[in-house]
Amino acid sequence: MNPKTEHKTSRDAIDRILAVEEELIPSSGFLAETMERVREEAAMPRRIPFPWLRALPGIVLAVAVLCWSGFELMRAVLTAAQERASVQVQLSAATARAMEPAGWVALALFVSMLSWLFARRLAGRSGLL
C-alpha cells in the first residue's frame, strides 16, 4: 500500500484538524516589500568570496609550520627524557619549585580557551557575532 494512502485511510480527527488549515493571504504590500529588499540586495556590491586559492599557500605553510613545531617539540621532550634517564640531571630545589605551577598555568590557559570558545559560540547563536 502506498504510504500516502495508508496514512489517509487511517486518518483520525487530529489529522483532519491539522490537514485543514485556514489559508493565509499575504498582505498587499508583501510583494512590493520583498522586491524592494531584493533590489537593495542586487544594488549592493557583490560579496567577495574568500580567496581560497590565494590563501592556499599560506594555509599549507601554516600547517607545515605547526607540524614542524609539533615534531620539534616532541623531539625535544623525548631527548630531554632520554638525557634525564641517563644523566639524572638534578634540578636545584629553586628550579624545581619554579616548575611546579607550570602544570596549573597550562590548565588555567586551557580552561580560559574553553571558556572563550563557549562564549563565542553563545554569542554566535544569539546573533551578536
Binding site: K4, S10, D12, A13, I17, I25
Partner: protein, 221 residues
Amino acid sequence: MQPGPGGSGLTGSRGALFEMHAAISAEEDLAHVERVLAGEVQAFEGIVRRWQGPLVNMAWRYCRDRDRAEEMAQEAFVCAWRGLASWRRESSFSTWLFALAANVFRSELQRFPVVNVPLEEVAEPAGPTTQHEGLAEKQIQEAVRRAVMALPTRYREPVVLYYFHEMDVAAASRTMGLPEGTMRARLARGRELLRKRFPHLSRESGTAVIPVLRAEKEALR
C-alpha cells in the same frame, strides 16, 4: 502545497488539471530563474508572486504569527535570490525553494524562538458543555494546533511539514532534507504525542469531534 494562480496556496484534490498546472508552473519558474540569472532583477517578481502564498503559509505554520510569518517568508525569498545560482535543477524549483525556506525558518526560530507552553500545559479543549458547537469545534482545533507548537522541535517540524504538504511524506522529507524513513519515524512519534495529549480525538474517526466528546461526558455521568 502548490501555488495558486493568484499567488495563494491551492488546496484540494490533485487531478490532471492540477498536474498540468504544476508542469506549467515549473516551466514558468525555470524561465524566470533563467532571466534572473541573466541579470534581470525584475523577473524575480514572478517567482515571489507565484510562491508568496505557499511560503507565507508555510512560515505561518512554523510560528503562528502573521507578521513574523511574512518577515520569515521575505527572508526566505531574499535567501533564494542570493542562492538562486545554487539551484542545480536536479530537483524541482519548488522542492529547492521549500527546503531553503525550511532552513531559513529553522534558523530564524533558533535565533528568536516562539514562546510555547509545554505540551502537558496545553489546555484541554472545551467539550460538550459549550453551547455553540461551532465555537467548541474551533476551540478544539486551536488546542490541537497549540499542541503541535508545543511538541519537541525534532517532532514539530516533521508534523508541520507533513500537513503543509497535504500529508505527503515524500514531499515533507524532501523539504526537511531527511530520509523518508527518518521522517516517517519522527512523524509517527509526533503524532503519537499528540494522540496521547488528545486521546478522545484519536479514537474517533470519520465523524465530527463534538459528538464524541459529548458521548464521553455522558458516559462519565
